[in-house]
Amino acid sequence: MMDTIKRISGVNPRKCMKCGKCTASCPAFDEMEFHPHQFVDMVENGRIDQLMQSRGIDFCLSCFACVERCPRNVEPAKLIEAVRLAVVRQQGGDHLRPEAIPHLLDENLPQQAITAAFRKYRK
Amino acid sequence: MQERLKQKALELLENGTADRILGWKIGEFFYDLTPAVFKTRQEIQEEFVYSPFAGANLSKYLIAESRKGGKVAVFLKPCDSYSFTQLLKEHRIWRENVYVVGVQCGGMCDMEKLRAKGCEGVLSVGEDGENIVVETLYGTNVFPRAELLEDRCITCKSKKVVTFDELIGEQGTELESDRFSQVAQLEAMTSQERFAFWQKELSRCIRCNACRNVCPACSCEKCVFDNPGSGVRNKAAADSFEESLFHIIRAFHVTGRCTDCGECSRVCPQNIPLHLLNRKMIKDMNELYGTYQAGADPDTKPPLTDFTLDDEEPSIVHTRGGQ
């Protein structure tokens, strides 16, 4: 599984020097039980299952602040995305069902929000 | 033209400008003009020749002649004058001992082309403006010069006499020529095709050294191929230091010094187009390091003894395209 995550993401977690700048930059910190630096560490140490079960993976905003500010070019967002993909690619792993959509819509919600949600939360 | 040159030679000898005259005389055949030194009025009158076969480049002979004491006068065609200037740049010719008469040139003729015209029993060949007049046993033939020109003269790069003390005829100018078109053709081939081409050409080499001996740039006191100390001495292809390497090294040694006079190909008894090697280097230098014409002036630094900080990397050979 660790190799799958590394392959999907193309990230080498060993480049991390544990400075915590990703976590310092993360706007979704409060919504995540594991924070970006922990993602990197846990992938490196093979604790993927725990990450896959965490609800935080759906809260990453893909804002790339962690990617931009990481001094070592580790790209934590790609790891989080890879873990999320590992989840939604599983049978029944979808996080969002088409039935739920109408309920979410409002008059002004742009298409891209839905499209993005579909891309992110289901396969 | 021959008469004007003869008169000039006599005049220079008689008014004391020169003790010796470097010119041409008939060799084995009428079309085989060979360089010669004339010391007396009689010699000039009897033997001095100038004809459309006076292709031999006299400049190289001045390395030795200019050091012999006294003054030597020489006739230099435009392309010879480039070689002469290049040798001056290399401090090989003692300029103060040389009196240069620049001779304008309409292009030299190729005996093979004359033969192809079906001329037999040729007695003499003369010039008449843009025509070549051939006297034969069977009468007089007149051909336009353009039809008989040597290949190197068809792509003549310049009619300018670079260095002279006196000029016979008008000063010419540098010409637009497509002398690199054959090189470009070769470049467009695949590597395998080029290899086959050169294998076919170079494998005919008999190492007679004619190319080297005639080349004004190959004027070393002792050639590396004759020098036991160089580690690469060899004569005929006795052991493994072969023709290709001889020609590669020769081409490399004259890179930036070769004026593209074309003598190497003219004298090759095997008709190997050796000038295509030198032209390739000239073309490359022009493209990579800016246009440079060896012998065009006495000052400009040759590309191989110069550099810029942002020269192309050797990998350009891989990346610039071609196959």
């Binding site: - | 005919r204 292809a237 290709s244 550099f307 350009i316 050979v317």
Partner: protein, 146 residues
């Protein structure tokens, strides 16, 4: 010695004493591997490399020749590698023109600190030469007519 019928190329690496030879030493110090068929000849500066040496190597059976020198601007002798750069560019161009495989010759700038680059370069070059196969075209063009 092991009997190995697989093509084992002979590769000559000319290294300038100040940067690349030291870079080669550094890759040794760091135990970075590269093929044993790469043999290094030490020259004081890349500008000492006479084209004759390269041709000689090919003639005597080398399958690839590489020149390593200080990075442009870092030459121990200030300008040597600039001359080498021009000479090698023209030589390689001429060899290419004669139909010699382009990949048999290479120039790489390797500093004394680039042990890893040295090893990587040699590995890459050896792989390239291995792919090209034995050098045939720079052998005697006249004697050898197949």
């Amino acid at each position: 010695m092991s009997v190995n019928n697989e093509f084992q190329p002979t590769i000559v690496a000319f290294c300038c004493n100040w940067c690349s030879y030291a870079g080669a030493d550094l890759s040794g110090t760091n135990r970075l591997q590269y093929p044993a068929n790469v043999k290094i000849i030490r020259i004081p500066c890349s500008c000492r490399l006479n084209p004759m040496f390269i041709l000689r190597a090919f003639q005597r059976g080398a399958d690839g020749v590489i020149l390593c020198g200080c990075h442009p601007g870092d030459c121990h002798y200030t300008t040597g590698n600039y001359y080498a750069r021009r000479r090698m560019t023209l030589l390689f161009s001429m060899l290419d023109y004669l139909g010699i495989e382009r990949d048999r010759t290479r120039v790489e700038w390797v500093s004394a600190a680039e042990g890893a680059k040295f090893a990587a370069t040699m590995n890459d070059f050896a792989a390239t030469i291995h792919k090209l196969g034995p050098n045939r075209r720079l052998e005697d063009l006249r004697c050898r007519k197949d």
